[in-house]
């Protein structure tokens, strides 16, 4: 599983790095540090990551299986 945060939509709500801190992390302004690049999801983090994808108020995160 990989996830990508759309940098044009992320506004720094922080739901992703609060719910799945092993996958997402904040930058100095509160946005997701990694934007517009696929982020690999470590094994065992799939469920929290899926919750983060759903929880994003901007719908900025998409998950891909590969």
């Amino acid at each position: 599983m990989k996830v990508t945060v759309d940098g044009s939509l992320c506004t720094g709500h922080g739901r992703c790095y609060s719910l799945a801190p092993d996958v997402f992390e904040p930058d100095d302004e509160g946005y997701s540090m990694q934007r517009d690049v696929p982020i690999p999801v470590p094994p065992g983090q799939e469920e929290l990551t899926s919750r983060a994808v759903h929880a994003c108020p901007e719908g900025a995160i998409t998950a891909t299986e590969s």
């Binding site: 506004t11 922080g14 759903h54």
Partner: protein, 399 residues
């Protein structure tokens, strides 16, 4: 008409965000709008539309070019209203302000406030925990946000705090006739405070960042924009957070099973914070101006139309969140619009979450078992912002 009408007014075609029936039947009105009226219409003032569905609120909130904030967040502003910035701005000027403000309210900086917030909360609880009763809004929730903010991220000299607190309190919760004079005093204070700080050595705090200002079309931002930015930073997080704190404690007073679950499972407090802001939203619906003709929710809007983004309704849309009326601290599908959607995402969201978490942790640790004072019920002041005006609680003090 097949659906039961929950108010005397037809909120689909004759909506009024200031109507007392909305204040008193908040959840019922919102749920009816979400279920049956994607876009409501109001004839109040110059008239406006209200966008109610989660997907439509998200779409409009993210499209600042079509849904502009430049005419202000109030649906029907008074003649000489003072803007708050960057709330009442569009990109790019909006974004240049946010870029300098964001770091002070980002999770890393907000985390430094944790200990202070716990200390402030404990001190407030010290004031009434042994009495077996409190009026939670006046005794706790109205104070904590200011105590934290003005002793940390927005440092105001301690000697100035009592008067500033009193004026802010009057402006936010006082008799209507006293509010404008109180606002004028706060404005004057913040203007003079900013001026004073501009003459002192920089300290690297958010006040310095506001004094330094940003670029506006190749020119330095004017002084009044700096004062209006400080206004936003100060007022954005006070009465709003007060309401969410009150909402949480009200909910736990009336749902003992939830507070027991939280006491047994403190890891769920973060979820409880999200459910609190989802179901007790302080910001109901900020305004936008339509810049280009656009269809949304099946309704054709024209350039110049005013709309409200109903964040409060969007958070109760079953299309986004199953059984939305249920305050469920174990749900795994929380998605809420309480902090806004799009570029105007609440600057203080991370600080608000911390203050709410600390409130829940400290209150339940000190007063694990409490209920509404028999015969009492909270009252609300509700328009584009919503505030619980009082919350009377009773408990058996521990000896």
């Amino acid at each position: 008409m097949t659906e039961a009408r929950v108010t005397s007014r037809d909120m689909h075609t004759d909506f009024d965000i200031e109507d007392v029936s909305l204040a008193e039947n908040f959840e019922e009105v919102l749920d009816d709008l979400v279920a049956h009226c994607p876009v409501a219409h109001s004839t109040v003032g110059k008239g406006y539309h209200v966008i109610n569905k989660h997907a439509d609120v998200r779409k409009a909130g993210q499209d600042w070019r079509t849904f502009s904030s430049a005419d202000g967040w109030l649906l029907n502003p008074p003649d000489q209203s003072i803007p708050i910035l960057p709330e009442d701005l569009d990109p790019p000027y909006h974004d240049t302000w946010r870029r300098v403000l964001n770091p002070f309210f980002a999770p890393g900086n907000v985390a430094k406030v944790e200990e202070l917030a716990h200390d402030c909360a404990r001190r407030l609880l010290d004031g009434f925990a042994d009495k077996g009763e409190c009026e939670f809004v006046a005794d706790f929730a109205a104070h904590l946000p200011g105590l934290v903010l003005f002793n940390s991220i927005v440092p105001v000299p301690e000697a100035d705090l009592p008067q500033l607190f009193q004026d802010i309190d009057t402006y936010s919760f006082g008799p209507l006739d006293d509010r404008v004079p109180a606002f004028v005093r706060v404005y004057g204070y913040l203007d003079a405070f900013l001026k004073r700080r501009s003459e002192e050595d920089p300290r690297g705090d958010v006040i310095d960042a506001i004094v330094a200002g940003v670029d506006k079309d190749g020119e330095p931002s004017p002084w009044e924009d700096k004062v209006h930015t400080l206004l936003d930073v100060v007022f954005g997080g006070l009465a709003t957070t007060t309401h969410a704190m009150s909402g949480a404690i009200y909910h736990f007073a009336t749902h003992p099973e939830i507070r027991r679950d939280l006491i047994a499972n403190p890891d769920l407090v973060a979820n409880a914070v999200e459910e609190t802001v989802r179901l007790y939203p302080p910001v109901v619906a900020p305004a936008r101006t339509v810049r280009n003709d656009v269809e949304i929710g099946g309704v054709q809007l024209k350039a110049g139309d005013r709309v409200a983004l109903n964040y409060a309704a969007a958070s109760r849309d079953p299309a986004a969140c199953a059984d939305p009326a249920e305050f469920d601290i174990r749900r795994t599908d929380i998605v809420q619009s309480a902090f806004g959607v799009g570029v105007h995402r609440c600057l203080g969201a991370h600080l608000a979450r911390l203050e709410l978490r600390v409130t829940i942790e400290e209150f339940l640790a000190r007063i694990p078992d409490f209920e509404l004072k028999p015969g009492s019920a909270p009252t609300y002041e509700s328009a584009q912002l919503r505030t619980m005006k009082n919350l009377h609680l009773v408990w058996t003090p521990s000896t």
